[in-house]
Amino acid sequence: MTRILLNSRLDDCLSAWRSAGYRVIAPSRSNNLTSFDEVASAADMALDLVLPERTIKDHFFPQTEPLVRYEIKKQQIDTEEMLPPDDKRVFFGVRPCDAAGLDIDDPLFGWDYKDQYWFKRRENSVIVTIACTKADPFCMCTSVNLGPDNPKGSDIMLHPLKDGRGWQMVTLTDRGKALLETVVPMLQEDAAETASLANVPVKFDVEKAMTWLADPANFESHFWKEISQRCIGCGSCTFLCPTCHCFDIQDEGDTYSGIRRKNWDSCSFAMFTMHTSGHNPRNTQSMRWRQRIMHKFNYYRGKFGVNSCSGCGRCTRQCPVDMGITETLQEITNTAK
Protein backbone atom coordinates (compact mmCIF):
# COMPACT_ATOMS: atom_id res chain seq x y z
CA MET A 1 0.00 0.00 0.00
CA THR A 2 1.39 3.34 -0.97
CA ARG A 3 0.14 6.87 -1.14
CA ILE A 4 -1.33 7.90 -4.46
CA LEU A 5 -1.91 11.40 -5.72
CA LEU A 6 -4.51 11.44 -8.46
CA ASN A 7 -4.35 13.96 -11.28
CA SER A 8 -7.87 14.99 -10.37
CA ARG A 9 -6.81 15.95 -6.84
CA LEU A 10 -3.78 17.98 -7.85
CA ASP A 11 -5.67 21.26 -7.80
CA ASP A 12 -6.87 20.47 -4.27
CA CYS A 13 -3.28 19.89 -3.27
CA LEU A 14 -2.25 23.21 -4.76
CA SER A 15 -4.96 24.96 -2.75
CA ALA A 16 -3.91 23.15 0.39
CA TRP A 17 -0.29 24.12 -0.11
CA ARG A 18 -1.21 27.67 -0.81
CA SER A 19 -3.29 27.87 2.35
CA ALA A 20 -0.35 26.37 4.23
CA GLY A 21 1.68 29.34 3.03
CA TYR A 22 3.52 27.83 0.10
CA ARG A 23 3.89 29.33 -3.33
CA VAL A 24 3.63 26.64 -5.98
CA ILE A 25 6.14 26.75 -8.78
CA ALA A 26 5.98 24.32 -11.66
CA PRO A 27 7.01 24.04 -15.29
CA SER A 28 4.71 26.15 -17.38
CA ARG A 29 4.72 27.27 -20.93
CA SER A 30 4.32 30.83 -22.04
CA ASN A 31 5.72 32.82 -24.92
CA ASN A 32 7.07 29.71 -26.57
CA LEU A 33 9.25 28.75 -23.62
CA THR A 34 8.89 26.32 -20.75
CA SER A 35 10.31 27.50 -17.49
CA PHE A 36 9.53 27.22 -13.81
CA ASP A 37 6.95 29.78 -12.83
CA GLU A 38 4.35 30.25 -10.20
CA VAL A 39 1.17 28.46 -11.27
CA ALA A 40 -2.44 29.00 -10.29
CA SER A 41 -3.76 25.58 -11.20
CA ALA A 42 -2.74 22.20 -12.53
CA ALA A 43 -3.92 23.29 -15.95
CA ASP A 44 -1.08 25.81 -16.05
CA MET A 45 1.52 23.13 -15.60
CA ALA A 46 3.46 21.61 -18.45
CA LEU A 47 4.28 18.26 -16.89
CA ASP A 48 4.22 16.29 -20.08
CA LEU A 49 7.60 17.43 -21.33
CA VAL A 50 10.82 15.49 -21.10
CA LEU A 51 12.40 18.55 -19.58
CA PRO A 52 11.61 22.26 -19.43
CA GLU A 53 14.03 24.40 -21.40
CA ARG A 54 15.02 26.30 -18.28
CA THR A 55 16.11 24.87 -14.97
CA ILE A 56 14.96 25.38 -11.40
CA LYS A 57 18.39 26.83 -10.75
CA ASP A 58 16.76 30.11 -11.85
CA HIS A 59 14.84 30.16 -8.57
CA PHE A 60 17.83 29.55 -6.33
CA PHE A 61 20.52 31.36 -8.20
CA PRO A 62 18.67 33.88 -10.38
CA GLN A 63 20.24 35.25 -13.51
CA THR A 64 20.41 38.64 -11.87
CA GLU A 65 20.02 39.18 -8.18
CA PRO A 66 20.29 42.36 -6.11
CA LEU A 67 22.79 42.00 -3.25
CA VAL A 68 23.12 45.38 -1.67
CA ARG A 69 21.40 48.68 -2.06
CA TYR A 70 23.66 51.64 -1.47
CA GLU A 71 23.12 55.29 -0.96
CA ILE A 72 26.00 57.67 -0.87
CA LYS A 73 25.72 60.76 1.26
CA LYS A 74 28.27 63.26 2.39
CA GLN A 75 30.90 61.35 4.36
CA GLN A 76 28.60 58.42 4.75
CA ILE A 77 27.47 55.42 2.76
CA ASP A 78 24.28 53.66 3.74
CA THR A 79 23.95 50.08 2.66
CA GLU A 80 21.10 47.68 2.93
CA GLU A 81 21.48 43.98 2.26
CA MET A 82 18.75 42.72 -0.04
CA LEU A 83 18.21 39.15 1.05
CA PRO A 84 15.71 36.97 -0.75
CA PRO A 85 12.16 36.85 0.63
CA ASP A 86 11.28 34.30 3.29
CA ASP A 87 8.33 32.76 1.53
CA LYS A 88 8.02 29.00 1.43
CA ARG A 89 7.89 27.38 -1.97
CA VAL A 90 6.87 24.07 -3.45
CA PHE A 91 8.54 23.11 -6.69
CA PHE A 92 6.22 20.66 -8.35
CA GLY A 93 7.11 18.57 -11.36
CA VAL A 94 10.85 18.95 -11.16
CA ARG A 95 12.90 16.37 -13.06
CA PRO A 96 15.45 14.32 -11.12
CA CYS A 97 18.38 15.88 -12.99
CA ASP A 98 17.32 19.42 -12.04
CA ALA A 99 16.78 18.40 -8.44
CA ALA A 100 20.20 16.77 -8.35
CA GLY A 101 21.70 19.98 -9.67
CA LEU A 102 20.71 21.77 -6.46
CA ASP A 103 22.30 19.09 -4.35
CA ILE A 104 25.46 19.26 -6.41
CA ASP A 105 25.77 23.01 -5.93
CA ASP A 106 25.14 22.99 -2.18
CA PRO A 107 28.75 22.34 -1.15
CA LEU A 108 30.04 25.08 -3.43
CA PHE A 109 27.77 27.70 -1.92
CA GLY A 110 28.43 26.31 1.51
CA TRP A 111 32.17 25.86 1.69
CA ASP A 112 33.95 28.36 3.86
CA TYR A 113 31.50 31.18 3.41
CA LYS A 114 27.87 30.12 3.48
CA ASP A 115 26.01 31.95 0.75
CA GLN A 116 22.80 33.16 2.36
CA TYR A 117 21.19 34.04 -0.93
CA TRP A 118 21.39 30.39 -1.97
CA PHE A 119 20.68 28.70 1.32
CA LYS A 120 17.80 30.89 2.35
CA ARG A 121 16.02 29.86 -0.81
CA ARG A 122 17.10 26.26 -0.40
CA GLU A 123 15.76 26.05 3.12
CA ASN A 124 12.42 27.51 2.16
CA SER A 125 11.86 25.20 -0.77
CA VAL A 126 10.40 21.73 -1.09
CA ILE A 127 11.29 19.85 -4.23
CA VAL A 128 8.61 17.53 -5.55
CA THR A 129 10.18 15.54 -8.34
CA ILE A 130 8.46 13.41 -10.94
CA ALA A 131 10.43 10.38 -12.08
CA CYS A 132 10.94 10.31 -15.82
CA THR A 133 9.02 7.90 -17.98
CA LYS A 134 10.35 9.31 -21.18
CA ALA A 135 13.64 10.67 -22.38
CA ASP A 136 14.91 12.34 -25.50
CA PRO A 137 18.12 11.65 -27.41
CA PHE A 138 20.00 14.21 -25.32
CA CYS A 139 19.22 12.86 -21.86
CA MET A 140 22.32 11.39 -20.24
CA CYS A 141 21.63 11.10 -16.51
CA THR A 142 22.59 7.44 -16.51
CA SER A 143 25.98 8.33 -17.95
CA VAL A 144 26.82 10.39 -14.88
CA ASN A 145 25.65 7.70 -12.45
CA LEU A 146 22.24 9.25 -11.86
CA GLY A 147 18.99 8.08 -13.36
CA PRO A 148 15.35 8.77 -14.20
CA ASP A 149 14.27 8.23 -10.60
CA ASN A 150 17.36 9.33 -8.75
CA PRO A 151 16.33 10.88 -5.42
CA LYS A 152 19.30 13.26 -5.11
CA GLY A 153 18.09 16.73 -4.20
CA SER A 154 14.41 15.77 -4.06
CA ASP A 155 12.16 15.95 -1.00
CA ILE A 156 9.31 13.98 -2.52
CA MET A 157 9.49 11.63 -5.49
CA LEU A 158 6.43 11.02 -7.60
CA HIS A 159 6.32 7.87 -9.70
CA PRO A 160 3.78 8.14 -12.51
CA LEU A 161 1.15 5.41 -12.45
CA LYS A 162 0.94 3.04 -15.33
CA ASP A 163 -2.68 3.90 -16.01
CA GLY A 164 -1.90 7.60 -16.06
CA ARG A 165 -4.31 8.43 -13.23
CA GLY A 166 -1.68 10.06 -11.11
CA TRP A 167 1.47 9.42 -9.15
CA GLN A 168 2.72 7.28 -6.36
CA MET A 169 4.21 9.55 -3.72
CA VAL A 170 7.39 8.73 -1.84
CA THR A 171 8.70 11.11 0.74
CA LEU A 172 12.45 11.34 1.00
CA THR A 173 13.15 14.01 3.57
CA ASP A 174 11.59 15.65 6.60
CA ARG A 175 10.78 18.65 4.51
CA GLY A 176 8.95 16.33 2.11
CA LYS A 177 7.09 14.70 4.99
CA ALA A 178 5.95 18.04 6.30
CA LEU A 179 4.63 18.98 2.89
CA LEU A 180 2.85 15.66 2.56
CA GLU A 181 1.13 16.19 5.90
CA THR A 182 -0.69 19.17 4.43
CA VAL A 183 -2.32 17.09 1.72
CA VAL A 184 -2.99 13.73 3.39
CA PRO A 185 -6.79 13.99 2.89
CA MET A 186 -6.27 14.37 -0.86
CA LEU A 187 -4.22 11.22 -1.13
CA GLN A 188 -5.37 7.65 -1.53
CA GLU A 189 -3.93 4.61 0.08
CA ASP A 190 -3.81 2.19 -2.72
CA ALA A 191 -1.75 -0.39 -4.50
CA ALA A 192 -1.10 0.70 -8.03
CA GLU A 193 1.36 -0.20 -10.64
CA THR A 194 3.81 2.51 -11.59
CA ALA A 195 4.78 3.19 -15.15
CA SER A 196 8.11 1.92 -16.32
CA LEU A 197 10.93 4.38 -16.12
CA ALA A 198 12.49 6.05 -19.09
CA ASN A 199 15.17 4.05 -20.74
CA VAL A 200 18.16 6.37 -20.87
CA PRO A 201 21.07 4.67 -22.57
CA VAL A 202 24.53 5.17 -21.11
CA LYS A 203 26.45 7.30 -23.57
CA PHE A 204 29.94 7.39 -22.18
CA ASP A 205 32.05 5.82 -19.52
CA VAL A 206 32.37 8.61 -17.00
CA GLU A 207 34.94 6.81 -14.86
CA LYS A 208 37.15 6.26 -17.84
CA ALA A 209 36.71 9.85 -18.94
CA MET A 210 37.57 11.10 -15.47
CA THR A 211 40.74 9.06 -15.42
CA TRP A 212 41.73 10.54 -18.74
CA LEU A 213 40.95 14.06 -17.52
CA ALA A 214 42.95 13.52 -14.36
CA ASP A 215 46.08 12.76 -16.34
CA PRO A 216 48.08 16.00 -16.58
CA ALA A 217 49.53 14.83 -19.88
CA ASN A 218 46.11 15.26 -21.48
CA PHE A 219 45.67 18.83 -20.35
CA GLU A 220 47.56 20.18 -23.32
CA SER A 221 46.29 17.53 -25.70
CA HIS A 222 45.38 18.59 -29.21
CA PHE A 223 42.04 16.99 -28.47
CA TRP A 224 40.75 20.16 -26.82
CA LYS A 225 41.36 22.25 -29.91
CA GLU A 226 39.72 19.69 -32.14
CA ILE A 227 36.64 19.24 -30.04
CA SER A 228 35.98 22.91 -29.44
CA GLN A 229 36.81 24.22 -32.87
CA ARG A 230 33.22 25.03 -33.68
CA CYS A 231 32.40 26.49 -30.26
CA ILE A 232 31.19 30.04 -30.80
CA GLY A 233 31.71 31.03 -27.19
CA CYS A 234 28.15 31.84 -26.28
CA GLY A 235 27.09 31.07 -22.76
CA SER A 236 23.92 29.13 -23.41
CA CYS A 237 25.31 25.78 -22.23
CA THR A 238 26.40 27.32 -18.95
CA PHE A 239 23.30 29.42 -18.40
CA LEU A 240 20.96 26.51 -19.01
CA CYS A 241 23.03 24.11 -16.94
CA PRO A 242 21.46 23.11 -13.64
CA THR A 243 24.85 23.09 -11.93
CA CYS A 244 26.86 25.92 -13.50
CA HIS A 245 27.24 28.56 -10.87
CA CYS A 246 29.77 31.16 -11.99
CA PHE A 247 28.78 34.74 -11.50
CA ASP A 248 29.79 38.32 -11.89
CA ILE A 249 29.22 41.22 -9.54
CA GLN A 250 28.11 44.49 -11.07
CA ASP A 251 27.07 47.83 -9.68
CA GLU A 252 24.08 49.46 -11.27
CA GLY A 253 23.29 52.97 -10.40
CA ASP A 254 25.25 56.15 -10.07
CA THR A 255 27.42 57.89 -7.54
CA TYR A 256 24.41 58.64 -5.36
CA SER A 257 22.48 55.43 -5.15
CA GLY A 258 22.09 52.10 -6.80
CA ILE A 259 22.28 48.40 -6.41
CA ARG A 260 25.13 45.93 -6.44
CA ARG A 261 24.00 42.82 -8.27
CA LYS A 262 25.10 39.27 -8.77
CA ASN A 263 24.70 38.23 -12.39
CA TRP A 264 25.34 34.95 -14.10
CA ASP A 265 28.67 34.77 -15.84
CA SER A 266 30.15 32.08 -17.99
CA CYS A 267 33.55 30.47 -18.39
CA SER A 268 32.77 30.48 -22.13
CA PHE A 269 33.15 34.22 -22.31
CA ALA A 270 36.52 35.62 -23.26
CA MET A 271 36.16 38.45 -20.77
CA PHE A 272 35.57 36.09 -17.88
CA THR A 273 39.21 35.76 -16.90
CA MET A 274 40.70 38.74 -18.71
CA HIS A 275 43.19 40.62 -16.53
CA THR A 276 43.27 44.36 -16.57
CA SER A 277 46.75 44.15 -18.09
CA GLY A 278 45.27 42.37 -21.10
CA HIS A 279 46.76 39.04 -20.08
CA ASN A 280 44.12 36.35 -20.29
CA PRO A 281 44.91 33.02 -18.66
CA ARG A 282 42.24 31.30 -20.75
CA ASN A 283 42.60 33.21 -23.97
CA THR A 284 41.27 30.72 -26.49
CA GLN A 285 37.90 29.06 -26.78
CA SER A 286 39.49 25.62 -26.49
CA MET A 287 40.97 26.56 -23.12
CA ARG A 288 37.60 27.77 -21.99
CA TRP A 289 35.83 24.61 -23.08
CA ARG A 290 38.53 22.55 -21.41
CA GLN A 291 37.98 24.56 -18.25
CA ARG A 292 34.28 23.77 -18.33
CA ILE A 293 34.81 20.05 -18.75
CA MET A 294 37.68 19.91 -16.26
CA HIS A 295 35.71 21.90 -13.73
CA LYS A 296 32.75 19.58 -14.00
CA PHE A 297 34.52 16.25 -14.09
CA ASN A 298 37.77 16.82 -12.28
CA TYR A 299 38.16 19.96 -10.17
CA TYR A 300 34.70 19.92 -8.68
CA ARG A 301 34.96 16.27 -7.72
CA GLY A 302 38.35 16.93 -6.16
CA LYS A 303 36.92 19.67 -3.99
CA PHE A 304 33.42 18.49 -3.23
CA GLY A 305 33.45 14.77 -4.01
CA VAL A 306 30.88 14.92 -6.77
CA ASN A 307 30.83 15.67 -10.48
CA SER A 308 29.22 18.94 -11.40
CA CYS A 309 26.90 17.44 -13.99
CA SER A 310 23.49 15.95 -13.44
CA GLY A 311 23.03 14.63 -16.95
CA CYS A 312 20.14 16.79 -18.13
CA GLY A 313 21.74 17.17 -21.55
CA ARG A 314 20.64 20.76 -22.00
CA CYS A 315 24.15 21.77 -23.06
CA THR A 316 23.83 19.64 -26.19
CA ARG A 317 20.10 20.11 -26.66
CA GLN A 318 20.36 23.89 -26.83
CA CYS A 319 23.77 24.31 -28.40
CA PRO A 320 23.65 26.35 -31.60
CA VAL A 321 26.54 24.32 -33.03
CA ASP A 322 25.63 20.92 -31.61
CA MET A 323 28.43 20.61 -29.08
CA GLY A 324 28.04 19.55 -25.49
CA ILE A 325 29.30 17.44 -22.65
CA THR A 326 28.00 14.22 -24.20
CA GLU A 327 30.06 14.48 -27.35
CA THR A 328 33.19 15.55 -25.51
CA LEU A 329 33.04 12.76 -22.97
CA GLN A 330 32.14 10.25 -25.65
CA GLU A 331 35.19 11.26 -27.62
CA ILE A 332 37.32 11.05 -24.52
CA THR A 333 35.93 7.63 -23.70
CA ASN A 334 36.71 6.52 -27.23
CA THR A 335 40.28 7.81 -27.22
CA ALA A 336 41.17 6.90 -23.66
CA LYS A 337 42.90 3.60 -23.24
Binding site: E38, H59, P66, P84, R121, E252
Partner: protein, 149 residues
Protein backbone atom coordinates in the same frame (compact mmCIF):
# COMPACT_ATOMS: atom_id res chain seq x y z
CA UNK B 1 -5.27 66.44 -5.82
CA UNK B 2 -1.71 65.65 -6.80
CA UNK B 3 0.53 68.04 -8.70
CA UNK B 4 -0.06 68.13 -12.45
CA UNK B 5 2.40 65.91 -14.28
CA UNK B 6 5.46 67.71 -15.56
CA UNK B 7 7.36 65.64 -18.11
CA UNK B 8 11.11 65.28 -18.09
CA UNK B 9 12.48 65.85 -21.54
CA UNK B 10 16.10 65.45 -22.56
CA UNK B 11 17.28 67.35 -25.62
CA UNK B 12 20.45 66.30 -27.39
CA UNK B 13 21.48 69.19 -29.58
CA UNK B 14 24.39 70.17 -31.76
CA UNK B 15 26.38 73.10 -30.56
CA UNK B 16 26.53 74.96 -33.86
CA UNK B 17 22.88 75.29 -34.68
CA UNK B 18 20.27 74.16 -32.20
CA UNK B 19 22.23 75.10 -29.12
CA UNK B 20 22.87 78.49 -30.62
CA UNK B 21 19.18 78.65 -31.45
CA UNK B 22 18.32 77.87 -27.85
CA UNK B 23 20.76 80.55 -26.82
CA UNK B 24 19.03 83.00 -29.07
CA UNK B 25 15.67 82.08 -27.56
CA UNK B 26 17.18 82.82 -24.17
CA UNK B 27 18.84 86.10 -25.06
CA UNK B 28 15.68 87.19 -26.82
CA UNK B 29 13.84 86.53 -23.58
CA UNK B 30 11.45 84.10 -25.17
CA UNK B 31 9.67 81.97 -22.64
CA UNK B 32 9.63 78.23 -23.09
CA UNK B 33 8.76 75.28 -20.91
CA UNK B 34 11.37 74.49 -18.26
CA UNK B 35 10.90 70.72 -18.71
CA UNK B 36 13.76 70.28 -21.07
CA UNK B 37 17.34 69.39 -20.09
CA UNK B 38 19.71 70.27 -22.86
CA UNK B 39 22.79 68.21 -23.58
CA UNK B 40 25.12 69.91 -26.01
CA UNK B 41 27.18 67.88 -28.44
CA UNK B 42 29.54 68.86 -31.23
CA UNK B 43 27.31 67.57 -34.00
CA UNK B 44 24.19 65.52 -34.54
CA UNK B 45 26.52 62.97 -36.08
CA UNK B 46 27.90 62.50 -32.57
CA UNK B 47 24.50 61.79 -31.07
CA UNK B 48 24.56 58.06 -30.60
CA UNK B 49 21.31 56.17 -30.22
CA UNK B 50 22.82 55.01 -26.95
CA UNK B 51 22.18 58.51 -25.59
CA UNK B 52 18.49 58.10 -26.23
CA UNK B 53 18.43 54.75 -24.47
CA UNK B 54 20.36 56.19 -21.55
CA UNK B 55 17.90 59.06 -21.24
CA UNK B 56 15.00 56.63 -21.14
CA UNK B 57 16.85 54.45 -18.65
CA UNK B 58 17.29 57.43 -16.38
CA UNK B 59 13.61 58.24 -16.48
CA UNK B 60 13.05 60.66 -19.35
CA UNK B 61 9.48 60.89 -20.57
CA UNK B 62 10.53 62.28 -23.90
CA UNK B 63 13.66 62.90 -25.93
CA UNK B 64 14.43 65.56 -28.49
CA UNK B 65 17.31 65.31 -30.91
CA UNK B 66 18.05 68.40 -32.90
CA UNK B 67 20.73 69.87 -35.15
CA UNK B 68 21.50 71.94 -38.20
CA UNK B 69 19.31 71.94 -41.27
CA UNK B 70 20.51 69.70 -44.09
CA UNK B 71 23.32 71.45 -45.92
CA UNK B 72 24.22 73.58 -42.91
CA UNK B 73 26.26 71.07 -40.94
CA UNK B 74 29.45 72.56 -39.58
CA UNK B 75 31.14 69.28 -40.45
CA UNK B 76 29.43 69.21 -43.84
CA UNK B 77 27.82 65.77 -43.56
CA UNK B 78 27.20 64.96 -39.93
CA UNK B 79 23.49 65.64 -40.01
CA UNK B 80 22.98 63.64 -43.18
CA UNK B 81 24.45 60.61 -41.50
CA UNK B 82 22.47 61.32 -38.38
CA UNK B 83 19.28 61.56 -40.37
CA UNK B 84 19.64 58.03 -41.72
CA UNK B 85 20.48 56.72 -38.32
CA UNK B 86 17.45 58.39 -36.77
CA UNK B 87 15.18 57.03 -39.47
CA UNK B 88 16.25 53.51 -38.68
CA UNK B 89 16.45 53.92 -34.93
CA UNK B 90 13.06 55.52 -34.77
CA UNK B 91 11.56 52.62 -36.67
CA UNK B 92 13.22 50.20 -34.29
CA UNK B 93 11.95 51.98 -31.20
CA UNK B 94 8.51 52.13 -32.68
CA UNK B 95 8.58 48.41 -33.44
CA UNK B 96 9.54 47.60 -29.87
CA UNK B 97 6.70 49.71 -28.58
CA UNK B 98 8.48 52.90 -27.61
CA UNK B 99 6.02 55.46 -28.97
CA UNK B 100 7.22 57.70 -31.77
CA UNK B 101 5.55 60.62 -30.05
CA UNK B 102 8.12 60.49 -27.26
CA UNK B 103 11.18 60.67 -29.46
CA UNK B 104 11.31 63.83 -31.51
CA UNK B 105 13.73 65.06 -34.12
CA UNK B 106 14.12 68.54 -35.49
CA UNK B 107 16.33 70.92 -37.44
CA UNK B 108 16.80 74.24 -35.72
CA UNK B 109 19.33 76.75 -36.96
CA UNK B 110 21.16 79.35 -34.90
CA UNK B 111 18.70 81.94 -36.17
CA UNK B 112 15.61 80.02 -35.14
CA UNK B 113 15.25 80.99 -31.52
CA UNK B 114 11.53 81.37 -31.93
CA UNK B 115 11.22 77.93 -33.51
CA UNK B 116 13.15 76.44 -30.62
CA UNK B 117 10.88 78.00 -28.03
CA UNK B 118 7.78 76.99 -29.92
CA UNK B 119 8.99 73.47 -30.45
CA UNK B 120 9.87 72.95 -26.81
CA UNK B 121 6.49 74.25 -25.76
CA UNK B 122 4.76 72.06 -28.29
CA UNK B 123 6.67 68.92 -27.34
CA UNK B 124 6.20 69.56 -23.66
CA UNK B 125 2.46 69.92 -24.11
CA UNK B 126 2.31 66.82 -26.22
CA UNK B 127 4.29 64.69 -23.78
CA UNK B 128 2.45 66.10 -20.82
CA UNK B 129 -0.71 64.92 -22.51
CA UNK B 130 0.82 61.48 -23.03
CA UNK B 131 1.69 61.29 -19.36
CA UNK B 132 4.79 59.77 -17.82
CA UNK B 133 6.48 56.96 -19.77
CA UNK B 134 5.34 54.52 -17.13
CA UNK B 135 5.84 51.39 -19.18
CA UNK B 136 9.55 52.00 -19.43
CA UNK B 137 10.01 53.46 -15.98
CA UNK B 138 8.27 50.45 -14.51
CA UNK B 139 11.14 48.31 -15.76
CA UNK B 140 13.57 50.38 -13.73
CA UNK B 141 11.39 50.16 -10.63
CA UNK B 142 11.16 46.40 -10.89
CA UNK B 143 14.90 45.91 -10.84
CA UNK B 144 15.21 47.91 -7.67
CA UNK B 145 13.35 45.33 -5.68
CA UNK B 146 14.44 41.85 -4.72
CA UNK B 147 13.31 39.35 -7.29
CA UNK B 148 10.23 37.37 -6.42
CA UNK B 149 12.25 34.23 -6.95
Amino acid sequence: MSEPFEPKIVAFVCTYCTYAGADLAGTSRMKYAPNVRIVRLPCTGRISPMFILKALQKGADGVLVSGCHPGDCHFAQGNYHARRRWTVFRALLSFTGIPEERIKFSWISAAEGAKFAELINGITDEIRALGPFEQYQELQKVIETQSTY
